[in-house]
């Protein structure tokens, strides 16, 4: 390499004997072998990835023949297909970068004009927006009539419920920036409220109520629970709050599981389904999933409608301020603890509504329906879709709930969540802001990366309270 030669020459001029030995050792260390060059290292990494992917997607092992899976994976055609893909990706990346980037630029330029025009029309004409929204809503409402019963079930039991949960969690984490890992606890509180007030628990309520009447009660209960949990803990920051909420979830979960006399414990609870009886009009939700679906769509649309107003209001701005710089927000007169509590309580009550809806749809639930994993999943949906953006969160929840169900047909059902995990990892590396990020969040991320404002401005607070 050039470094080595020039160094040796320089040394050779004054004292050849004594200097060359140590220098050549140093130069040897400095020498870059061909396999250490970035290009070949990348090829190696891609090949390793291909082998890993083959192992992941390949044969399942058995305890009878420990090496069966390995043998199958390394002898079949699959391995070669994966390796070929890896090499192809590498070759395109290494040797065709100019062409690909030019092609990308070209499509961008070509699509920029029409896209801009669409955007202009979109923002200029209110009727266009209303028209598109109506069309989307119509599709959401009537589209599912055409799909199989199985997918209708998935749509109600999982997608709709998780979308509602994600919208609620978005308020807490996306807008107020509070890491809440115990969000599902409020879901449980909602479900058990439904069970209690409809008289399904061993302890009887003063009056047994209709499921719909339980909704406001559940909202209120979760609001109070949120405030009780939040008031002492919202002074904590980031990681500490996450641990506290985790603990709160565990308390609620274990109480549900172990307080047999009150909650039926692990046996679970049977809850009545939704029904309306107004005298002149009565309707009962039965086994058909679609009526539940429409009911949930109403809840979701209502929640979106209410929360969107918050985002660009005094409250939404105050949340952003707190998220960005709590000290400055407080100095500007924003009562930080009150706003954080507000976010917590609003998120909790949304979760509570989802809990009532879930209990009244499923007709039966047990504590395992509120495992900590669900909290983490909802969090993943929010982050995947794009924190702080309602369209993002809707997409994130719907897509990530749908994906494992869809994969059921294609891969070993036991492996489905492995693919979900891989997707999340890739997503966080290449698009940490999420699929459809909110504008504010995107800017924050960009600024954090660019270090806008200098080291001073982004540094920690000027000390805390003594």
């Amino acid at each position: 390499m050039s470094i080595k030669t020039s160094a040796a020459q320089g040394a050779g001029q004054d004292s050849p004997k004594s200097a060359t030995a140590p220098l050549s050792a140093a130069a040897r260390l400095r020498k870059v072998h061909w396999y250490q060059e970035p290009r070949w290292r990348r090829l190696g990494a891609l090949l390793a990835l291909a082998v890993t992917l083959r192992l992941m997607t390949g044969e399942e092992g058995t305890t009878q023949d420990l090496f069966l899976a390995l043998r199958e994976d390394f002898t079949g055609v699959g391995l070669w297909i994966w390796l070929a893909i890896a090499v192809a990706v590498w070759a395109v990346r290494e040797f065709l970068t100019d062409q690909t980037s030019r092609a990308v630029e070209g499509t961008k330029k070509v699509s920029a004009g029409p896209l801009d025009r669409v955007r202009q029309v979109w923002s200029a004409d209110k009727r266009v927006r209303m028209g598109v929204l109506t069309a989307v809503l119509a599709l959401v409402v009537f589209g599912p009539l055409g799909v199989e019963r199985y997918w209708q079930q998935v749509l109600v039991d999982q997608i709709a419920i998780f979308v509602l949960l994600a919208i609620g969690l978005n308020v807490v984490i996306g807008w107020a920036g509070l890491l809440d890992l115990g969000f599902i606890a409020f879901f449980a509180i909602g479900a058990y409220s439904a069970a209690y007030w409809t008289g399904a628990l061993p302890v009887q309520p003063p009056v047994a109520l209709n499921n719909f009447l339980v909704l406001p009660i559940a909202v209120l209960t979760c609001l109070v629970a949120g405030v009780i949990l939040g008031a002492p803990t919202l002074r904590l920051r980031g990681d500490y709050l996450a641990i506290v909420t985790l603990g709160f979830h565990e308390i609620v979960y274990l109480m549900a599981k172990n307080a047999d006399g009150v909650t039926e414990g692990a046996r679970g609870v049977k809850v009545e389904r939704f029904s309306v009886d107004l005298g002149f009009f009565s309707y009962e939700w039965k086994l058909d999933p679609m009526p539940y679906y429409w009911l949930l769509v109403v809840f979701i649309v209502l929640a979106i409608f209410l929360f969107l107003r918050l985002e660009h209001s005094k409250v939404g701005r105050a949340w952003t301020a707190i998220r960005e710089d709590e000290v400055a927000a407080a100095a500007t007169g924003v009562p930080t603890v009150r706003y954080k509590l507000m976010a917590f309580a609003i998120g909790a009550s949304t979760s509570g509504v989802a809990g009532v809806a879930y209990a009244s749809k499923a007709g039966y639930f047990n504590p395992e329906n509120f495992a900590i994993l669900l909290s983490i999943l909802v969090l993943a949906y929010v982050i995947f879709g794009g924190m702080g953006s309602i369209p993002g969160v809707l997409f994130g929840a719907a897509f990530l709930v749908w994906l494992p169900e869809y994969l059921r047909e294609w891969v070993d059902p036991k492996d489905r969540y492995m693919y979900l995990g891989a997707l999340l990892v890739i997503m966080m590396i290449y698009r940490p802001q999420g699929v459809l990020p909110s504008r504010r969040r995107k800017r924050e991320l960009r600024m954090a990366e660019a270090g806008v404002g200098g080291a001073d401005a982004t540094g920690p607070a000027e000390g805390r309270q003594p």
Partner: protein, 327 residues
């Protein structure tokens, strides 16, 4: 937070209420961090309507004093009293920062702390809104009072932004503004809370000479037109000498001098503190710097009348400076 409301009849709260009356008073304020005493028995008396500068070498405790006044730090000992215009008094010692802001003390930060991902307008709106009483429910339901409040805060934010001269940049992100504009935006954000006392922590740090002159003019206007008392931390002696009515000097957390700018400059303790801080620097240079400051101060005068004369034309400020200095 202790909010004793003492009946203290104060004449009709006019714009330029009693000049001699104290708006901010501290006594025996002592703040320690472990073994370090960052404020040592500090006495501060600030009259309503004055510009009081706090100077001192780095680490003297100036920012700590601001933090103690605004509730960010809680001194172990002492008394901090704020007397709002409408009478009564509030103890600021250990008060919550947002309550202090709502009482009427607004501040800026030495290290600019704007909400970088929000626009300039939004930054100011956040401050303007803290006085509006609309809850989340009325906002979610889109009730008329929520919409009215939104319009009110919008109007107020526009007003304040045009006052500091940032109106045309209101839709730019705070984080992408120039340094000088960021400093002004911070002042705008503080002003939007409708303060009686404005605490500026090194507002001229990192700004260029033109921006400094604009800043100087802005501080004067805030003081004279809006009747806001200004407590100013600043290293730029020319700025201090030209805008401050009085100067207080801190060193190692202790107040070592207080008085008119010219008095303070002649104070041996102050000269020594600066000499000590500059350490082994050319004594003559320091003496000259001090003398220069004195000259500038005389030019600017200390009365409000002369002040307004000096800044009748913002653009004419720069040449004026030079002539005064070389007089």
């Amino acid at each position: 937070m202790t909010t004793e409301t003492v009946k203290k009849e104060q004449g009709p709260a006019g714009g330029s209420a009693g000049a001699g009356e104290l708006v901010l008073e501290t006594s025996g304020v002592t703040l320690r961090f472990g073994g370090l005493t960052s404020l040592d028995n500090v006495e501060l008396r600030m009259r309503r309507g004055e510009v009081l500068a706090v100077i001192g070498p780095n680490g003297a405790g100036k920012t700590s004093l601001f933090n103690s006044l605004t509730g960010a730090y809680v001194p172990q000992e002492g008394r901090i009293v704020f007397r709002p215009r409408e009478g009564g008094e509030h103890s600021l010692l250990g008060a919550k920062p947002h309550v202090v802001s709502q009482w009427g003390l607004a501040r800026t930060f030495q290290n600019i702390r704007l909400f970088g991902a929000l626009t300039a307008l939004e930054n100011v709106k956040i401050a303007a809104e803290t006085r509006l009483k609309t809850g989340p429910v009325s906002i979610m339901l889109g009730l008329p009072n929520a919409r009215k409040a939104e319009r009110a805060s919008d109007r107020r934010a526009h007003e304040v932004l045009s006052y500091v001269g940032l109106l045309e940049k209101m839709n730019e992100l705070a984080g992408s503004l120039s340094y000088g504009d960021q400093r002004r935006l911070e002042i705008a954000r503080a002003l939007a809370t409708d303060p009686e006392v404005l605490l500026l922590d090194e507002p001229a740090a990192g700004t260029n000479p033109t921006e400094k002159l604009e800043l100087e003019e802005l501080i004067r206007r805030i003081n004279t037109e809006l009747g806001v008392s200004v407590l100013l931390i600043e290293h730029d002696m020319r700025l201090v000498m030209s805008v401050a009515d009085r100067v207080m000097v801190l060193n190692f957390g202790k107040k070592i001098a207080e008085g008119s700018p010219s008095q303070v400059q002649r104070d041996p303790a102050v000269i020594e503190a600066y000499l000590g801080a500059v350490a082994e620097e050319d004594e003559a240079a320091v003496a000259q710097a001090v003398a220069e400051g004195a000259g500038a101060q005389e030019g600017a005068g200390s009365g409000a009348d002369t002040d307004t004369d000096t800044d009748t034309g913002a653009d004419a400020g720069a040449p004026q400076w030079d002539t005064e200095e070389h007089k």
